[in-house]
């Protein structure tokens, strides 16, 4: 057992740090500097697509390098990338898409010129995703699928130019069969996006109504009826990414910072035992979770599969995220309440309430916690 990074890994870490130091847009430049940043990452040798394999222009990181890379990026608060194209769809295209599809779609995903949204969930198909009913019927000339149905909870559909979508092409046999993976443009006639207002008042999720939407057959990924298999692989991708452990470590640090800025009696909130203990408990659990991620990494580095521990990353990670958001809310005290354009009290209080509200979704999307536990008890514990 050895918990130290190797000399090469340490050198790599230094290289990443230096790169960030040199290229990360500073302060106010964050938004306008985005494209330069991504360009620099790309020129560095595929660092803009750290998870992509070499043959698709990725950097070919070892698992440990990937970990170090993610760690440093999170640590330095580098610009975020929406996951839909780059992390969710791209791996599917690489594994199951045709050469033409790869050439057609991957460049736009890579340079962020095309936004994608994920059209899986439906009103009747949430946890039980395989029961989806949005119908795709092949036209008589076999050139197009005609799609009818409704998708829901589609994140950022209002900003997306394309959707990757699960549709039903057959109802015979088990429900997992007969699902087909289609790609279509959001401005295709018959696609209608309606925002859903969520708990924090934000409008990031949408209902998407599909009425006689014509999707050319060449936009089908892989074989008809095999979409479930393709999507399932992607869901696993989605789940490990959702653990966000490094982000939680940083979020906890900033929660502590917030608490230290709140005066209580003669000290600060961090001097109040009841509060401090909660922070402590979270730190303990995060420490354990971080090392669990490392164990996963070690087993992948050794050429194995991620190991059974990896299944708990998302479950525990999202729970921790929610508890951190609660700390911020408590630190806001009475200033949790204001919700207008004004922000009296500590500056972090507005974000605290927002984080508390929107964070409730973390244990719902990407596999609700109860269902995740079912999956683990079945697949890992064989119960």
């Amino acid at each position: 057992m050895d918990t130290e990074f190797s000399q090469e890994d340490l050198e790599f870490q230094k290289e990443v740090q230096d790169f960030i130091e040199e290229n990360l847009p500073k302060g106010g430049d964050m938004w306008s500097g985005r494209s330069n940043w991504f360009q620099a990452l790309k020129e560095k040798g595929g660092w803009d697509v750290p998870k992509w394999p070499v043959e698709f222009g990725g950097p070919g990181f070892t698992p440990t390098q990937r970990y170090i890379f993610d760690l440093e990026m999170a640590n330095h608060n580098t610009p975020m990338v929406l996951p839909f194209g780059i992390s969710m769809l791209a791996p599917i295209l690489m594994n199951y898409g045709s050469k033409e599809q790869q050439e057609r779609f991957l460049p736009g995903i890579r340079d962020h010129s095309v936004n994608w949204c994920q059209g899986y969930s439906e009103p009747g198909a949430g946890s039980d995703l395989a029961s989806l009913t949005t119908k795709a019927v092949l036209s008589e000339d076999a050139k197009d699928y005609i799609v009818n149905g409704q998708k829901t909870w589609t994140t950022l559909a209002q900003m997306a130019q394309w959707m990757f979508c699960l549709t039903r092409t057959s109802s015979d046999g088990p429900k997992q069969e007969g699902i087909t993976f289609l790609l279509f443009k959001m401005d295709t006639p018959g696609v209608e996006v309606k925002p859903i207002v969520t708990l924090g008042g934000s409008q990031t999720v949408n209902d998407v109504y599909l009425t006689d939407v014509k999707v050319p057959v060449e936009n089908r990924v892989g074989e008809e009826g095999k979409g479930w298999t393709y999507a399932k692989g992607l869901l696993t991708h989605e789940r490990t990414g959702l653990a966000g452990i490094m982000n939680s470590v940083l979020a906890l640090e900033s929660a502590k910072e917030n608490a230290r800025s709140v005066k209580v009696a003669d000290g600060t909130l961090m001097d109040v035992p009841a509060f401090k203990n909660k922070v402590g408990e979270l730190e303990v659990e995060l420490m354990a979770l971080e090392f669990t991620e490392l164990r996963t990494l070690a087993s992948v580095s050794a050429g194995g599969s991620p190991g059974q521990e990896s299944s708990i990353l998302k479950l525990k990670g999202t729970e921790i995220q929610q508890r951190i958001s609660q700390l911020n809310l408590e630190a806001s005290g009475i200033f949790a309440a204001p919700w207008g354009r004004v922000n009296p009290g500590p500056r972090f209080s507005r974000g605290a309430m927002n984080g508390y509200l929107s964070g409730r979704a973390n244990t719902i999307y990407g596999g609700a916690s109860e269902v995740q536990k079912d999956v683990i008890s079945k697949n890992v514990l064989e119960l």
């Binding site: 946890s127 809310l329 919700w339 207008g340």
Partner: protein, 375 residues
């Protein structure tokens, strides 16, 4: 021992339930929240006509001689209906303080108006540096000849925008955190030198930052004894906690029963969600939390009605339990509704937010737990 409601109380409860059933569906509430003052003057008038604004006051004061138990009954129903009218601020906070410590003139002028529904009032006590500590008061009232000049800023003053009278805690002596040297003043809402920053709160209510700049008040406007206002501040807080807790109990009841109803009709994997054991257990726990909260709410309220020495400790306990239970029940109500729980369209979201704010009012779980274990 008889813990059941009297016949009168049952009638009263029924009338509140009927009012809410008739007037308070979610879309009506939405309209009220978005209106100018954030509530309905029309409803307020009805409250007066129904006698609800007179409940806690003695017959001498023009009230019905009710007790915190009656307030509990009302607030629990208000919690179920997510009522937005300023009952807590006007009747529970300022009204009961006046009833306790008001001079005959103050009572005649203000309490009478409150009971008739003509005067709205609020209590300005919170300050930014205080976190949840009620005796941490910096806003000052300095003597200037015969009058006092109030200076300072009070935060999250409920419904200040609509308040004809503001009861404000000030420091007239001692250091920032002393319990002695606090004086309560009754000030006109539109007195010269008062400025406000009004805003909606996340739970659909209204509040303001209220700044006092050389606001002149005469000694007749002191409520109670100068320098000895803290006892009254605590009393107001106790009564507010009892009322808020009853409201939370009502809100939790809706959350767990709505969740049961939803999981019975929502099917996944070929079964209603309510068939899955883990969800059955979760809902059982939600029910347990609600029941325990209700018990402690009743206990603390009864002790307060009896004027018992144990009331204080029970009220700390109550606020602790309400905070913890509310969190459990509201978070799981969202969780078990899945994506639907995250939408503003369902009532769940609105109860969730209200409960989050109740925890932040008059001291949160940690604050009261710390006090509780020290008594």
């Amino acid at each position: 021992m008889d813990l059941s409601l009297s016949e009168e109380q049952t009638l009263f409860q029924n009338s509140v339930q009927k009012f809410i059933a008739d007037n308070y569906d979610l879309s009506t509430r939405r309209t009220l929240c978005a209106s100018d003052e954030g509530f309905s003057r029309e409803n307020w008038k009805q409250f007066a006509e129904l006698g609800w604004l007179a409940i806690p006051f003695s017959e001498e004061d023009g009230g019905f001689g009710g007790s915190p138990a009656d307030t509990m009954i009302l607030m629990e129903e208000f919690g179920k209906g997510l009522v937005v009218e300023p009952y807590l601020a006007t009747v529970v906070m300022v009204g009961t303080a006046l009833a306790r410590a008001g001079t005959p003139e103050q009572k005649a002028e203000i309490l009478g108006g409150i009971i008739e529904g003509n005067i709205l009032a609020t209590f300005a006590y919170a300050e930014e540096q205080a976190h949840h500590e009620l005796h941490n008061v910096v806003t000052s009232a300095g003597k200037d000849g015969d009058v006092y000049l109030i200076n300072g800023t009070k935060s999250i003053v409920l419904n200040a925008q609509s308040a004809d009278k503001i009861l404000v805690s000030t420091r007239t002596n001692g250091n920032d955190r002393d319990t002695d040297g606090i004086t309560l003043f009754l000030v006109d809402g539109d007195a010269e030198g008062i400025s406000r920053q009004d805003y909606p709160t996340v739970d659909g209510l209204r509040a303001s930052e209220v700044t006092f700049k050389d606001v002149r008040v005469s000694p007749e406007n002191i409520l109670g004894e100068p320098d000895h206002g803290y006892e009254m501040v605590e009393k107001i807080s106790d009564h507010a906690i009892l009322a808020l807790s009853a409201e939370a109990v009502g809100a939790m009841e809706v959350l767990y029963t709505d969740t049961i109803a939803y999981t019975k009709q929502r099917e996944q994997f070929g079964h209603p969600l309510s068939d899955f054991q883990v969800l059955k257990h979760r809902m059982t726990e939600m029910f347990m939390e609600h029941s325990l909260s209700k018990s402690l709410c009743m206990k603390a309220t009864m002790l307060e009605c009896q004027g018992s020495d144990e009331a204080k400790r029970a009220i700390h306990a109550l606020k602790v339990l309400i905070g913890k239970s509310s969190r459990f029940v509201s978070q799981n109500a969202v969780q078990l509704h899945g994506g639907m729980g995250m939408t503003e369209e369902l009532a769940i979201a609105h109860y969730f937010k209200r409960l989050a704010i109740i925890d932040s009012q008059f001291g949160n779980v940690d604050h009261h737990l710390t006090k509780f274990v020290d008594i």
